[in-house]
């Protein structure tokens, strides 16, 4: 995935989240996370990603 493709999917996610509205956005992100887990298909990597995502917040 190049910078332009990353930009395009990032913008698509922002747009879809915006359309869903604040109430439903979290559920949508949850669904997206689950689908991404199945695609990544590697428990160790996913655990590391979850830990990194939690680090800053």
């Amino acid at each position: 995935m190049n910078d332009l493709e990353l930009d395009a999917v990032y913008t698509e996610l922002c747009r879809v989240l915006g359309e869903a509205g604040e109430q439903k956005a979290l559920t949508l992100l949850g669904r997206f996370a689950l689908l991404a887990m199945l695609e990544i298909d590697d428990a160790d990597r996913l655990k590391a990603l979850i830990a990194r995502a939690a680090q800053s917040a």
Partner: protein
């Protein structure tokens, strides 16, 4: 802290129109409505081609305040071709990149494309009043061709058969009329011409509001684009800083959704925020405010820029968001595109339908600019909670995750490639080239040796070869001259009145050949352009590639021009 605005360190000369002779209706070939960057550039682009114009400008001086500040390399190339780049480069501050900070940590350090092949910087910062002043200077050399009517305003626009009737009011309120063959509407975002024709801009208006301030501050900071997201000095805000000539800094920041814009723009509310920010970045020198205004991003355009004999350009045709500096730069490109086509039509070299391609190409360019500008705006002024939330995630991750940093890049303006235009040579060999500027794209610059007819050598860059109002033929090969067949075609085109500059590009110096030619000693330009011996690039007067061929017969060149100029029964394919 004083809240009083100080004057700019610039003399705004009050200018006057030449006295009018008589009271009857005047007739002019071209009337340019609006004497800002677009209108003055248009007048110059026509004048260098020998076309006279009258510019109607409502103000009596160049623009005041903080407006366009960043001029791109592409715009500088255009000004160079028009003979106006000298003072602009002398005054402007060149820059090549920038930095973005999240809270107080740097998350992005970007560079714009720049290499040893370039003779112009990717961007310069300069106040718009300087650009306009220098254009006025350049126009003084063409006083017979450019009549700038300061403090005159257009009050009525009536399209007629074969022209346009304009009602104009002089400074003293005296009305007069001008019958114009062609009108260039360069009269800005609140275009009177657009209104008179009942036309409306279409698109998106953004909610996010920015404060724009110019301050006088002596600082040792280099010229870069500086952005802070959620800085400790102004939590929750986004702040941009640009250095301009004369120790002036432009500061832009977004106000919160819950703020009243009319309150937020008051000096007593702006100055403490600026002060806090300067303190945060360690700028302790005294400073004073020069200008404060509000800005709201718009992404709007007309569907067509040609309405009979009225042609729209710049903000009168489209309003692009501020982020990415596409406003003045796209206006300069608009009039550069329009000027050679209008000159060709007025000189009888081209059918008026060539002007339809102005609209096709520049509406396409505006839509590309809007798309890019909207992406910049979505990051700089997030339109929904989702863009806001995701931006925080990007900035937070960017500290230790380089992969997301490209999302912070401000996506500065770049020249538009006219992919599908009726004013390029559709039958060329574009797809068979493996390198070089595509058909419809702008030239890539690189140095070459130029040998004149007397054998004298000098260095020249490819983009400098394009002359106002002339097509450029670059024929790659071993000889100092064009192949005989192509040479003959060029001669017949010139006889028909078309401006064509034809240059052979060869590998070694061959002394005086009686004609000018170019030397590409190590084959660098041939490589950059993907050109083998026999390869030909034909370039339009605006520096966009008309077509490129692996080999080109003279008759093919003549035929391609006949289609472009509407001098054939064959229709241009759109």
């Amino acid at each position: 802290m004083t809240t009083e605005l100080k004057p700019y360190p610039f003399e705004f000369i009050k200018r006057q129109a030449r006295p009018r002779k008589g009271s009857e209706t005047e007739h002019h070939g071209v009337v340019i409505v609006g004497g800002g960057v677009a209108g003055l550039t248009a007048a110059l682009a026509l004048a260098v081609q020998g076309i006279p114009s009258v510019v109607i400008e409502a103000d009596d001086s160049v623009c005041f305040g903080s407006r366009a500040i960043c001029i791109s390399r592409r715009s500088l190339e255009i000004f160079e071709r028009l003979g106006a780049v000298g003072e602009i480069l002398e005054k402007g501050l060149p820059w090549t990149g920038g930095r973005s900070y999240y809270r107080n940590q740097e998350v992005l350090h970007f560079s714009m494309p720049h290499d040893a092949n370039q003779h112009l910087p990717p961007m310069i910062n300069i106040e718009q009043y300087y650009i306009e002043e220098y254009l006025v200077h350049a126009l003084e050399s063409y006083s017979e061709l450019a009549d700038i009517r300061w403090a005159n305003r257009v009050t009525g626009v009536a399209p007629q058969d074969g022209g346009v009737m304009l009602d104009v009011e002089q400074e003293d309120g005296q009305p007069y009329r001008i019958q114009a063959d062609w009108v260039m509407a360069c009269d800005g975002g609140r275009s009177k011409v657009r209104e008179a024709l009942g036309l409306h801009l279409q698109g998106t208006a953004y909610e996010g509001i920015y404060i724009i301030a110019d301050i006088a501050l002596k600082s040792a900071l280099p010229t870069e684009r500086l952005a802070w997201f959620d800085p400790p000095s102004n939590p929750g805000s986004t702040i941009l800083m640009h250095k301009q000539p004369d120790d002036i800094w432009r500061i832009d920041y977004q106000i919160r959704d819950d703020e009243d814009p009319q309150e937020a723009v008051k000096a007593e509310n702006v100055l403490p925020r600026v002060q806090a920010h300067l303190e945060m970045i360690g700028e302790t020198a005294e400073w004073s405010p020069l200008w404060i205004s509000l800005y709201k991003a718009n992404a709007l355009t007309l569907d067509s820029y040609r309405h009979g004999r009225v042609l729209f350009a710049g903000d009168a045709a489209h309003l692009v968001p501020i982020f990415g500096v596409r406003g003045a730069n796209s206006a300069i490109d608009d009039v550069d595109n329009m000027a050679w086509k209008l000159a060709a039509v007025m000189k009888g070299r081209a059918d008026p339908s060539l002007l339809d391609s102005y609209s096709v190409e520049r509406v396409f360019a505006a839509r590309e600019n809007l798309r890019q500008g909207m992406k910049s705006t979505e990051f700089m002024a997030p339109p929904t909670f989702a863009f806001q939330m995701m931006r925080e995630a990007v900035l937070d991750l960017a500290l230790d995750t380089p992969g997301v940093r490209s999302l912070i890049n401000p996506r500065q303006t770049s020249a538009i490639h006219y992919e599908d235009s009726p004013a390029v040579a559709a039958g060329d060999h574009d797809a068979r080239f493996t390198a070089g500027p595509r058909r419809g794209a702008v030239l890539q610059s690189a140095p070459l040796r130029h040998v004149d007819a007397q054998g004298r050598e000098s260095t020249v860059h490819v983009t400098q070869l394009v002359r106002a109002g002339q097509f450029l033929v670059l024929a790659f090969g071993d000889a100092a001259g064009l192949p005989a067949d192509l040479n003959q075609a060029v001669a017949s085109l010139r006889e028909s009145g078309l401006g064509v500059r034809a240059l052979a590009v060869c590998g070694r110096e061959q002394g005086a050949s009686g004609d000018e030619y170019l030397v590409d000693p190590d084959g660098k330009v041939a490589g950059l352009y993907g050109a083998q011996a026999g390869g030909v690039y034909v370039v339009r007067p605006d520096g966009h590639v008309f077509g490129r061929w692996l080999a080109l017969r003279g008759q093919e060149l003549v035929d391609a021009f006949a289609v472009l100029l509407g001098k054939t029964t064959q229709r241009r394919s759109a």
